[in-house]
């Protein structure tokens, strides 16, 4: 033990320390100059607006950062000729606007949304919530989750921008209970209100740089993470996956699934006949025994094991999950809050799109799942 301490310590610790140091330096340098890091901030910087008065599909610089008195907003040019809509939206850096009318907040919906693999820095989220007790609760929960991601989330998880709107009218039926919601007599008023909510959300958020609009209901809790890429790969004006619902089958004593969205259909002569005898303000509804339309429903076209990219033309669509080329909405196709060819809301939208020359396409074997209450 007469050995001097110093050299021994040096001899025994120095290789490890140096190795750790080198590794750390490499790691730090990698983190600092990793290819993704400058990409994110550059993209964010490039899309940021200089003033709060700007398209909500962009983040904006807070006035405090400008320093002193803010000047007037700049004159901004947008060339809509160069906004592409292609079957490879990721490669072409196309902006997607995900719109969700929300009455209740479901954690499963939010978790599924975060799992979408489409680059989040190209996604703007838009929500509209009623100013009811339920709507207030959902807003608070939503804002909590948003803060988590946008303030503390990883760069990759953060969305380009998020818009929360509060509805300026009361929903006709205060309750969101399943039985109450589906009563036929309530349908027209409920869906007219829903149409107004969808339009309010759409036309105040679309902005000048959106390529695609994904309508995703707040109770869609499970989709493939590649939902946007998959639907866009068809490059159709309107693309609708098949909406199913998981449930516990008491007979089989096992989990099972059943078709859920009956608003995706192909028209039938019976339905046309019914419509022709109706008054101007009456609407056709799907899924009610006392109004048999004999339309071909996409919900029943699902074939297990078949190609998920099989396409069928549709005349009516549902809004649970629906990808729309922004130009369809820009042309004026909206969700009629009034009977339009005896159709309303999303079904009326498909008809209006058709009047403008845009055809709806369904993917019967591509499934997304609705919440089961």
């Amino acid at each position: 033990m007469a050995r001097p301490l110093g050299p021994v310590r040096l001899k025994r610790t120095s290789p490890g320390t140096i190795a750790v140091g080198i590794v750390l330096v490499i790691v730090i340098l990698y983190l600092l100059v990793s290819p993704s890091a400058p990409d994110f901030s550059a993209a964010r910087k490039a899309t940021a607006a200089l003033h709060p008065l700007s398209p909500p599909t962009s983040p904006f610089r807070k006035s405090s950062s400008v320093g002193g008195k803010a000047g007037p907003p700049p004159v901004t040019r947008y060339n809509l000729n160069s906004v592409t809509i292609t079957n490879d939206p990721v490669a072409n850096r196309e902006n997607v606007l995900v719109l969700t009318p929300m009455a209740r907040f479901y954690q499963e919906y939010w978790d599924n949304l975060l799992k979408l693999s489409y680059p989040h820095e190209l996604i703007t989220l838009g929500f509209i919530l009623p100013k009811t007790k339920e709507g207030n609760a959902a807003t608070i929960e939503l804002q909590k989750q948003i803060a988590k991601i946008q303030k503390h989330g990883h760069e990759k998880e953060r969305f380009k921008s998020i818009i929360i709107l509060r509805q300026d009218f009361d929903p006709p039926i205060p309750s969101q209970d399943e039985s109450e919601r589906h009563k036929m007599a309530n349908q027209k008023a409920r869906r007219a209100a829903m149409a107004k909510a969808r339009n309010s959300l759409l036309f105040t958020t679309l902005g000048p740089d959106t390529s695609w609009v994904l309508w995703l209901d707040a109770d869609i809790v499970e989709t493939p993470p590649t939902l946007i890429q998959d639907l866009a790969s068809h490059s159709k004006p309107l693309t609708v996956p098949n909406c199913f619902q998981r449930f516990y089958n008491a007979e089989k004593k096992a989990m099972d699934e059943r078709p859920y969205d009956f608003n995706n259909w192909q028209d039938s002569p019976t339905a046309q006949e019914l419509a022709s005898k109706m008054g101007k303000d009456d609407i056709l509804l799907e899924g009610y025994a006392d109004m048999a339309t004999y339309r071909a429903l996409m919900a029943y076209m699902y074939e297990a094991g078949a190609d998920i990219h099989t396409e069928v033309p549709l005349d009516g669509v549902g809004g649970t999950a629906l990808l729309v080329k922004a130009e369809v909405h820009r042309d004026g196709a909206m969700f009629p809050a009034f009977p339009f060819y005896h159709l309303i809301e999303t079904e009326g939208f498909a008809k209006m799109a058709k009047r403008l020359g845009w055809q709806a396409t369904g993917l019967p074997n591509y499934k997304v799942y609705h919440y089961n209450e």
Partner: protein, 448 residues
């Protein structure tokens, strides 16, 4: 084992201090680094995110639109569709700058489509000059210039060269442009939307407040245009603001799904009461009239009308398209649609092809008339000269005197003709003077 534990800790502390040294060195280096922040965006990203706001929250019940929007800080979006409009820019910007509605509450959105002239550059230059003005009360809010060409579709859509048939597709195309403009520019903070054509010549500076005071969902003024005197002095211009008639409704039922009723064509006699024809120059400017179709020269609407989905149908909606169908759709959704028959703004008079033809005809007629008169004069002169010659041969006493006179006379005529020639080449007016003066003098000479 015992010795290893402190050794391990010591090892850690050492590597930590090494790390701290390295990191501080790096950080120091970065702070001292002279380059611009752009090259170090990967460090800047942290601080950048603090400055960027990515979440926006808006309560739409705050943007309903009221009768006194200027007092309640209600934002208004002015939408202006443009196409080859360079010539109208100075006039338009004159009107824009004179608007009395607080400019900071006004957002401007322009759609420039299929323009072959310099509209875009002029527009951008003028707008930038306004925003850079030293007077902050001139500054507007958000200003968007949107470029979108629909050109290709024009060619596809033209079903026929027949003016009447082309009208429907022209209106559908206009509708499409309006919808693209609105959907790109409408924001959750707008209470009002005002549509204005660039070619309005005369308009009260208080038009926004004047229309807003009525507190209607959709409201339009009467639109007339001045005319040259030979066309009657003035004329109703916008015939698209009308109230529905039974005749028109019955007519609509007989037409096929894609037909578009357009006013002012003999093909569709609708017998509708037009806002334009109900004008009384001395009438109460606040008088309201319920209408069903609206014209697009100057429309004030509450933003919620557009938020709820009303737009300018680019398809046949209830047998109408564009602004007329916009009126129809507004009514269908239960919104109030009103016109002011005695509150008039004036559209620019641009001579139509027919007018220009008419003026050319009158001009050439005037010219022909002058030429005819000039030719007659010449013939008269010749005849007179011949007569004078004959007379002068008979009388020899004043021969010298007469010869002198004649020479002077001829010289004068040459001069007159020289004056006449270039003048006649121009307009008829100025040529009248010398052409008329010549024969008078001639007559005087002759009678002497």
């Amino acid at each position: 084992m015992r010795a290893d534990i402190p050794m391990g800790i010591r090892e850690e502390t050492h590597s930590r201090s090494l790390l701290t040294a390295l990191v501080s060195l790096l950080l120091f280096g970065l702070f001292v680094w002279p380059g611009d922040s752009g090259s170090f965006s990967w460090l800047g990203s942290g601080s950048e995110d603090f400055q960027l706001e990515t979440v926006r929250y808006y309560d739409l019940s705050n943007v309903q639109g009221t009768a006194k929007g200027w007092e309640r800080e209600e934002r208004i979006l002015i939408c202006v569709p443009l196409r080859d409009a360079e010539a109208h820019m100075p006039m338009f910007f004159g009107h824009l700058l004179n608007l009395t509605y607080p400019h900071h509450l006004i957002d401007l959105a322009f759609l420039v489509s299929d323009s072959k002239d310099n509209t875009l550059a002029v527009l951008e230059r003028e707008l930038k000059a306004i925003q850079a003005s030293a007077d902050p009360s001139k500054h507007f809010g958000e200003i968007s210039i949107i470029e979108k060409d629909f050109g290709q579709k024009v060619n596809q859509d033209v079903e026929s060269r027949h003016g009447f048939a082309a009208q429907a597709s022209r209106r559908k195309l206009m509708a499409q442009a309006r919808n693209w403009l609105l959907s790109a520019a409408l924001r959750p903070y707008h209470s009002w939307v005002y549509w204005r054509d660039v070619d309005v010549e005369t308009c009260p500076t208080t038009i926004l407040e004047d229309l807003m005071r009525h507190n209607k969902d959709v409201i339009v003024p009467n639109v007339w245009r001045p005319l040259p005197d030979w066309l009657g002095g003035e004329q109703p211009y916008d015939l698209n603001s009308w109230a529905e008639s039974e005749t028109a409704l019955a007519l609509a039922d007989t037409l096929d799904e894609d037909a578009v009723i357009v006013e002012g064509y003999a093909e569709y006699a609708t017998w509708r009461p037009h806002l334009a024809y109900l004008r009384d120059p001395y009438g109460d400017p606040d008088m309201e009239m319920e209408i069903d179709g609206v014209g697009g020269v100057s429309i004030l609407a509450k933003a919620k009308v557009f938020r709820y989905g009303v737009h300018f149908p680019a398809f046949s909606f209830e047998k109408h398209a564009e602004t007329e169908a916009f009126g129809k759709m507004s009514r269908r959704m239960g919104f109030s649609v009103v016109g002011l028959p005695h509150y008039t703004i004036w559209h620019l008079y641009e001579p139509s092809v027919d007018d220009i033809k008419h003026m050319e005809v009158t001009n050439s007629r005037q010219q022909m008339e002058q030429e005819r008169i000039a030719r007659e004069k010449e013939e008269k002169e010749k005849a007179m000269k011949e007569q004078k010659m004959k007379e002068s041969f008979g009388d020899a006493t004043g021969q010298w005197e007469k010869d002198k006179n004649e020479i002077q006379n001829l010289a004068m005529q040459e001069n007159k003709k020289a004056e006449e020639q270039p003048a006649a080449g121009q307009q008829g007016g100025p040529a009248d003077g010398p052409a008329n003066a010549a024969p008078k003098e001639e007559k005087k000479e002759g009678t002497q």
